[in-house]
Amino acid sequence: MPRISVNVDGTAFTDEVEPRLLLVHYLRDRLGKTGTNIGCDTSNCGACTVVMDGLSVKSCTVLAVQADGSDVTTIEGLADDGRWHPLQKAFHTEHALQCGYCTPGMIMASVGLLADNPDPSDEEVREGLEGNLCRCTGYQNIVKAVRTAAAEMHEGATR
């Protein structure tokens, strides 16, 4: 079995994995990182989104072996020393989650989105989150939350 070394949420792991093991199953079943969810079997829902080497990816579309040598951030590693990331705060204050099942993926996809485009319009947020499905919120408050977080991050950066 191939051996991989991955840094997940700041901790280095070295493991032997089956070649067919998906990154999302590696995270959930092997590392116990159950903050990352699975919502589909066709790579459509985005519930499993994590950030890998700075880019948001659906972790059900990546094999664990492909993550060898990578740096992976999941929702569990997003807060900085217990201080919530602006996206986590904004999802909370703007009521951008209901059941919260899509939320880890939605937030991690938004991390990627804002890295690409720090000041997106409503339309750009909607397009940017196209690959993430939410059945509860109707998306409006998610759009609002991402823009609120963007503003806060912008403020933080220019302060």
Binding site: N37, C40, I75, I107, R126, L129, Y139
Partner: protein, 803 residues
């Protein structure tokens, strides 16, 4: 100790950010599939690829030889695990046909996805792999997929019953024949409610932790209804109810799809009992499309009678409702929830409703957000537009002429309900103003005039719904198998913190927040000092769970009542401690005072500690600081609202663009405006999805051709417009909080608003019907066909004219 000044502001009515969110935005929630137990095994379920077949042979032996496999069972192997089949708790008529529904099929499979065998392995992948090695001989039988064909009884889903007709359920009030024969105008239509797939983003999952030595079981399930599951599973498996604990951990949405009792819950319990090991089953999304209930799937034949001035006389509904292959928990009752809603907010003389339940070889249907009421609302709101077109009056004007005036409440409707309160005028006026109704009508006229390629349509839905399910006596009269009450316990802890136990089982709605607001106000304690406990039959043994927009209107009221009862109880302790008569004790915002003696007071927190020590109690009073209340509502509640939708329809391509969606909802007293807004947004989106995008399609062989989330279009962020929402608050008069419920309103309202808008855009071109979902192809065909019929060239500026 809480400062009185700090909590002087009421919590109810304010935006307080959700208590639920912290674990959800940090990945610390516990979904059922997250649960790992020592020695846990994984279950895979083999599902029939055929819609109808006899199982000539099911041989699990080859699967047993696969790596990691611990056990494998056919339906026959597990048959002695069941005391009874999976239950239907709503036998709607005395003579309803209720076929056996075993958790694993033994002789025949009746829909693609029916369970055939079970494999148990050390991990989920080995279980999935081994399923392919179960050897099954399917002898194909003819399937019946179409409801009307099924009603001919030529091909039977359950041959032993000799018919595909499950039940016929009639309701008639007033002189219907007179209403129709005396009418100037009668409009008759057939509307098709396509089948929908609920798609909660968390798939279902089940974990069972057995202690076989003592016969105790803990069942974790991604369910909306742990209490229902406990009772029904106790019956199906013969486990004494007190030995079965059911836990709904964090649950990722339900929308009715988790308001059920499923085969996999029974299978997991049976396997755990056999093997004495913890087991888990987790659904894949594609499996969910076959194994979790579907919604809607009805044919509505509707006729409305009116006088020439547009005053409604009567309404006739002949409804056919697809049950699918078996009856799940509430399957036959769902269309009947619509029986009382077809008249909507309108007055009329007579009403007749007949529903025929029909078996087909498809996945069973059951509650999907709104459950019977969206279908009814769609039909009445659409036919109001069709009637307006027939009469040549503005559709809002027609509604105004017929709706129940604010001054007429309480009002007994033609369908036999009493609407306690409402203000359709206020909600409509506000919605029309926000929407810019007159300006949009003017633009529409301009576009029609100029024969613009892009036409504008305006859709209206002035809906009401019955929610707060439900008065137990009414449920009894409808032959429902349970009551509609809800329980709450409010408990003061020695340090003055508060635990509220509710029988409601939230899965995204924010009840922990809303109920905390209610309890905090009733007890005069801090919002943060209240915790809401739920979703575990050992913690909250009494309850009837979450569905039918009942949680606040029944469960929230129970919390309020239990808190009041606790205050009454504490008043006796206060009187004793303050050495005053009980009647002289006043309670205000957390403090007990002796009337007329402002210095003589104690806080509820101090009192809780002194009762806990029990050193000095009034004679004959036990030192309890908890109170329970079981609230059985006297009536349903009736939220209402006005939803307005403007769409642009490209007549060349059939593409529909939602340009403006504005609504004003009245859900009574609002506990937390942010939660209300969230429910409305999500609800509208699901209803709009039925109007424009979603449809579960079966081919004639009974294959679900929209079998994955790739083929079934769940809308994403770019599809959905920005909504403009507002509220009016006309408090319900049938409960002390004045609340009505809001969980389903958006879904019930939005489907007809959107479809009416699409039709309004092209009605002048000769189109009077487009089936849902109004895809570009369907819209284009409708416009194209109408153009051919009337000989109009669509590019011709002179085309059109009101029909």
């Amino acid at each position: 100790m809480t400062d009185v000044a700090e909590r002087s502001e009421a919590n109810v009515g304010r935006v307080l950010h959700r208590k639920e969110d912290a674990k959800l935005v940090t990945g610390q929630s516990t979904w059922t599939d997250d649960i790992q137990l020592p020695g846990m095994l994984h279950i895979g379920v083999l599902r029939s690829p055929m819609a109808h077949a006899r199982l000539a042979r099911v041989d699990v032996a080859p699967a047993l030889e696969q790596p990691g496999v611990v056990a494998a069972y056919s339906g026959a192997d597990l048959a002695d695990e069941w005391v009874m089949g999976l239950p239907c708790a709503w036998p709607v008529t005395e003579d309803m046909v209720a076929p056996d529904h075993w958790p694993v099929a033994t002789d025949e499979v009746r829909f693609a996805g029916d369970t055939v065998a079970v494999v148990v392995a050390r991990d989920r992948f080995s279980a999935a792999d081994a399923l392919e090695h179960v050897d099954v001989d399917y002898e194909p039988l003819e399937p019946v997929v179409d409801m009307e064909e099924a009603l001919r009884d030529e091909v039977l889903v359950h041959s032993e019953h000799g018919t595909n007709k499950c039940f016929v359920w009639p309701l008639e009030t007033g002189d219907v024949d007179a209403a129709f024969s005396g009418a100037d105008v009668v409009v008759k239509r057939r509307y098709i409610q396509q089948r929908l797939i609920p798609n909660a983003i968390e798939p279902r999952a089940v974990v069972v932790d057995p202690t076989t030595a003592s016969g105790e079981y803990t069942l974790y399930s991604a369910t909306q209804v742990p209490h229902f599951v406990r009772i029904q599973m106790a019956l199906v498996l013969g486990i004494p109810e007190h030995r079965l604990r059911v836990v709904a951990p964090d649950v990722g949405g339900g929308f009715g799809s988790k308001l059920n009792v499923y085969a996999e819950e029974a299978i997991a319990l049976a396997v755990a009992r056999r093997l004495g090991r913890p087991v888990k089953w987790t659904e894949t999304r594609s499996e969910n499309y076959q194994a979790t209930i579907h919604g809607r799937d009805q044919i509505q034949d509707i006729e409305i009678a009116a006088s020439s001035d547009g005053v409604l006389r009567g309404l006739r509904i002949d409804l056919k409702a697809d049950m699918g292959a078996y009856l799940q928990l509430l399957t036959p009752g769902i269309p009947l929830l619509g029986a009382f809603m077809y008249c909507g907010i309108y007055k009329m003389d007579a009403y007749s409703f007949t529903c025929t339940g029909v078996f087909t070889d498809k996945t069973p249907t059951d509650a999907y957000r709104g459950a019977g009421r969206p279908e009814a609302t769609f039909a009445i709101e659409r036919i109001m537009d069709d009637l307006a077109a027939e009469l040549g009056v503005d559709p809002m004007e027609l509604r105004r002429r017929n709706w129940i005036q604010h001054s007429e409440f309480p009002y007994d409707t033609v369908a036999g309900l009493t609407y306690d309160t409402g203000n359709y005028e206020a909600a409509t006026d506000r919605a029309m103003e926000l929407f810019g109704y007159d300006e949009l009508r003017a633009e529409q006229a301009r576009r029609r005039e100029s024969g613009d390629r892009v036409q504008l349509g305006i859709g209206i839905s002035t809906y009401t719904e019955m929610c707060g399910l439900a008065p137990s006596r009414v449920l009894g009269s409808l032959r429902y198998g349970a009551g509609g009450w809800e329980a709450a316990t409010v408990r003061l802890l020695p340090t003055g913190k508060v635990e509220v136990v509710t029988g409601i089982s939230p899965h995204g709605q924010g009840h922990e927040t809303g109920f905390s607001q209610i309890a905090a106000d009733a007890l005069g304690v801090d919002f943060d000092d209240v915790d809401i406990l739920h979703g575990d039959t050992r913690v909250a043994p009494t309850g009837l769970d979450t569905y039918g927009s009942r949680s606040l209107a029944v469960g929230g009221v129970a919390v309020h009542k239990a808190a009041e009862r606790l205050i009454d109880k504490m008043r006796r302790f206060a009187a004793h401690e303050l050495e005053a008569a009980e009647d002289d004790i006043e309670f205000d915002r957390g403090t007990f005072r002796v009337r007329g003696d402002p210095d003589s007071s104690t806080t509820i927190q101090d009192l809780s500690l002194s009762v806990f020590t029990a050193h000095d109690l009034p004679e004959g009073v036990d030192p309890s600081t908890a109170a329970e209340y079981v609230f059985d509502p006297e009536n349903f509640s009736f939220p209402h609202g006005t939803h307005l939708c403007a769409v642009e329809v490209d007549t060349d391509t059939g593409a529909v663009h939602v340009r403006n969606y504005t609504c004003v909802d009245d859900c009574g007293t609002i506990v937390n405006p942010q939660l209300v807004e969230g429910q409305i947004h999500g609800g509208i989106t699901q209803g709009m999805a039925q109007a424009l995008w979603e449809e579960a399609i079966y081919d004639e062989l009974g294959n679900l051709t929209t079998g994955t989330i790739v083929d079934y279009y769940v809308p994403g962020a770019p599809d959905v417009p920005h909504f403009t929402t507002d509220t009016t608050q006309t408090p319900a008069t049938t409960n002390p909080l004045g609340v009505k419920g809001v969980g389903e309103a958006g879904t019930i309202a939005s489907t007809p608003a959107v479809v009416n808008a699409v039709l309004d855009a092209v009605r002048h071109l000769g189109v009077d019907d487009i089936r849902m979902p109004c895809s570009p192809e369907r819209v284009w065909r409708a416009v194209h066909d109408a153009g051919q019929q009337t000989g109009q060239d669509l590019s011709d500026d002179t085309a059109g004219g009101r029909l």
